[in-house]
Symmetry: D2
Subunit: 360 residues, 4 copies
């Protein structure tokens, strides 16, 4: 109800403010008997963490997690899994000047209106630091869905007006992490990095697009009416900070097509599996996975905090001038790749479990 | 869990197959004391119904609704509101030849895989007829949110490659229903109608885009983390048949922008309300409404049923040839306008009620 | 949220007022592929219906149900199952004099306070007629759980101060429906019937107790902390009109025992199954079924409507005198037996499905 | 779904095993702007904690809590409130001999059957230590409902066959904590204490009853059909370890009454409030609070761990002999008083918030 939980059966609840004592997550409904590799969790956190490369914020955050419950002798036991990350060395004083200010395109104003009170330090609950909790939960979900042979791969497909211009199946997705922008095409990656560095030099920020591919998903996932698989994926992505759009399969481009162009013809493979010749459906038909690759795009707006002077107002409506201090991301998409994967994994894990209850 | 319900407090559950005895909806959580205008419900259903114009399917469906409960002497009493529409004169025999066939880009195959059993007549539960139940529920939601001064207006902004090319605030949205394609710009509307008729003549179908605007929404709606207002709107739209994309505010175009271009500066109006000079945020910041207009685009793929011959397979994997029979929509967007509005109204109604529980 | 739904996966939503157009239920989450015997549904409804014997109300209600959706060619297809019963020949005028009156120990006053508006005819939504919808849903649940070999048997174990005085395993539960009071001991049944007839002759009503036994329940049902199996059974029973108490296993009597008396020792059967020698635990340990019989008692207060004159107040607080008119039950327990079974079946069905999602 | 959450709007999720790193709770949906008194939380924890008196277990547990999020400068901010208690100095080795044993009337066997894996140390997740998390959450709920003038008082009304024998309104409930057994009648309390000490001397345990009274509850709380206020209270109580029964108002005794005895006549007070002359209804009619005192009884079985030798089986079905080691409670009710109050407070807090959404 208060919006801090996600999923029906594989269900997570995140908590924590940017500059409070800790952030964390409770995962309820993770099946028992799953062997947990703590190294994989840390690996995912490291892909998300600030200060990881020349094109991210240089801020350092403690991203050392601690599992408090639900895992015994390396395996899940079916009880809720609580994981926390302590917040260390937060420079809360850096934010004192923002106590009464509403930063443009941030959540300061809307939180104040909604709650009548606000932890202004570093954005409080609205900080993207909350996504670290999602990445932890997603690492559990990934380990669960791998038992069903499902693999999720996201990558940066656009930064500003630089578009990758290739379909996912023309790319070698194992190369995504070979460069710091997380674009599997080395040539475009280099240009993207240059664009981000140039943007930072101007004290500005820039948007981008992440594409995500889910391979090995069995048929039958997704509920047919409101909880269509793509509707839940869409909500998952739109719940990530800065996301302003989602499309799957033929997406917005498909609106310009004719049915005769867009339809996916079924055929039987030589080993008598049923597949489609094309995949405008993005692996989902009637809201339910059909066994083909699932793929979708996620649109990120440019980061709101810029190093240029902007006008705004304070609580009393007085005009003020603001200028970003400290260390911020010039472009969020390189660090958002593991977040997109985590949210996708959570959706798939949940629907895998939901699908166990369908037939007699 | 089984995906036939939507909303947390203002919660609906739809039921019914295309060619079963009836379809319907139960609305639970509609506040008591609301005067219901049955004429408004019928008006919305009429905007959605088949056979309404030269560019929709010529199929006739009974769209006469009956309220079974929850309304007493014209007012809601706080108990669940059940509404049904009987299915009459369904030509189920028309579908006998599809019993074992998987139509391309339909849900036949995925339903069979998921449930192991399928009501093949007219798509069964996957039929767009289910959206009539949403329109009824949305008509209740609209009447509720109008008490808070909120108005929702959707319109067709693209058909195939014909784009409207104007922002919503350059249009007179009261003119949307003046033409059969539901585009408020008469010139473009004429071209869209011609394109649809041309498409139908070729036995084909074409996609399109619907834009929706929500005016008068108070600040504070939306929950900050997973149930962001735009995430719930996105899920609502993506749950509509044939939708493949959603974007709000600056959307996909905003990914190409710099922060300095995209940010919305706050200022105080002469009567000391706080507003933003621009509205890239689409009326939502940090997932919470900020009092500005909310607007978003919804991408519809072309209808899957075409009057041209297509190859497919049957249950056994044998290659078959299929050709659409009967009467189908060449383009779904004109009839989808009230569905988009209904789903938006349901999201707003739910968040209005959720927001009553936030502060001490 | 508004309290008209029950269950997490096997989830029902009931609707309808006593004197509205219809009552009904939507069952969402019933697994696909279940063969439905309509005769069994009618049989359960007939056990609940008014006018069935000399000791129930002589009121006649239409209890002819119609399945609107979710069942195709005799089998469930996985979509929501909507079932309605039309309300016929309601004598709404009988209730005109109650429009502004608050009947003692009824819900008139509390509904008025909660909603600010009330359908006063026959108790509206608070009428026990709503339980017919539960019995229908329970009949689906019973058919589902029989596939797992689970059988539910309830019977009347007390009427007023007449107690049956035998444990369930000293009784032949197949004889419950052999008499009109639904007590499997013929001698006590006769006395109970006489007590009820005597009570009715005095224009009064009397309370009673129903005992319910669930046999064949597999180990592992129930969630360990808040959704303990007995907690969900308890809520289910307490949600039935007129129920004021619930106890399972050793119950209230067990509070007087020592641990050494109350504990159930485990042993291995000759075919190496693990059982307990005694069953104070009532088949549930730590909230989870242990494979032994589950049994519990449900306390029903005397029916509030009596044929004697009572004082009360109207909306304005004026003192009024009320006397029951028409035809009412002198004791609710004989007709409540199928309701208790229905609610138990719904809980077990739901937990059977929930339990499918627990292990890797 | 996995049963570790409770409440719809004021919703808690508890986590943690008895001998893991920590236990804790996330409270989501606590309204913003509530001033939190940490001393009150500690006070409630101290009432529950082991080792508090001569008649409880002498085990020492760390019950020092830490608030990780959701409270800023002493006030709730509307974000989830995470609170943890570290587990210190657990003697896990004490439990090594129980790794493969199923203790009688414990949850060892059912957890093993359900999950296929088990943290056997101190009962793991099934330990009553989990209730400390509920007491913390309840302390937040109490502070919230006090703003509406609601007060909750529980006390011990029976230990073994020693019954208090007085109605709550014949007692001075402010004296409950004056003695270590938490019975407000000093004479009976003394006898209860003697009975518990005698029971412990025999290496045995004994059951008991807690009565709870809620004063100042406004009219209108509770949802009418499945989420009746007493049904939610019943479930809350039945979810507490060792509880086997719940009754409210006239309860089981009321089943022996006639309607003419049991009905509560309405009257208007001199200041024109509507009240009832008697209160068999226990302050709830039709599932909704009527403004009178709410009261109910909760039945606790004797603690399963006794200091006498018992036979049982191990995983392989071999007969074993077990004898309780270490320090355990001879009677749970004195320490369960704050747990009953906490669960009652959580139910009332949730329904207070739910009730805000009912009327137009």
């Amino acid at each position: 109800m208060a919006g801090n939980s996600f999923g029906e059966i594989f269900r997570i609840t995140t908590f924590g403010e940017s500059h409070g004592k800790a952030i964390g997550v409770v995962i309820d409904g993770c099946p028992s008997g799953l062997t947990i590799d703590a190294g994989l969790i840390q690996h995912e956190l490291d892909r998300r963490k600030p200060g990881q490369s020349a094109i991210t914020t240089q801020r350092k955050e403690s991203d050392t997690f601690e599992i408090l419950s639900g895992v015994f002798e390396g395996k899940t036991v079916g009880s809720p899994i609580a994981v926390v990350i302590k917040n260390e060395d937060q420079k809360s004083d850096d934010y004192a000047h923002l106590k009464d200010a509403y930063r443009p395109s941030h959540a300061d104003y809307t939180y104040e209106m909604k709650y009548g009170i606000r932890d202004h330090r570093g954005g409080g609950r609205s900080s993207a630091r909350e996504t670290a909790a999602r990445v932890i939960a997603g690492a559990f979900a990934k380990q669960f869905i791998q038992h069903s042979g499902i693999e999720i791969s996201a990558y940066v497909s656009a930064v500003g007006n630089l578009r990758l211009g290739k379909n996912y199946n023309e790319l070698d997705l194992s190369k995504t992490d070979d460069n710091i922008v997380r674009c599997p095409d080395a040539d475009i990656a280099e240009k993207m990095i240059a664009l981000i560095q140039d943007t930072r030099a101007k004290g500005d920020t820039v948007g981008g697009v992440i594409t995500c591919v889910i391979k090995g998903c069995p048929t039958g996932l997704g509920e047919p009416v409101f909880d269509k698989l793509h509707a839940d994926l869409g909500k998952a992505m739109l719940s990530i900070n800065a996301v302003h759009g989602f499309e799957y399969g033929s997406g917005f481009a498909g609106t310009q097509k004719y049915g005769s162009e867009n339809n996916d013809a079924f055929y039987a493979t030589s080993d008598n599996r049923i597949e489609t010749k094309t995949n405008s459906s993005g692996g989902i038909q009637g809201g339910i996975s059909n066994g083909m690759d699932i793929y979708f795009n996620v649109a990120f707006k440019p980061v709101a905090t810029i190093m240029q002077s902007q006008t705004s107002v304070d609580k009393e409506g007085n005009e003020i001038e603001l200028k970003g201090k400290g260390r911020h991301d010039p472009c969020v998409v390189p660090r958002a790749v593991p977040i997109v994967e985590a949210m996708a994994a959570l959706v798939i894990a949940d629907h895998l479990l939901r699908n166990r209850t369908i037939q007699l």
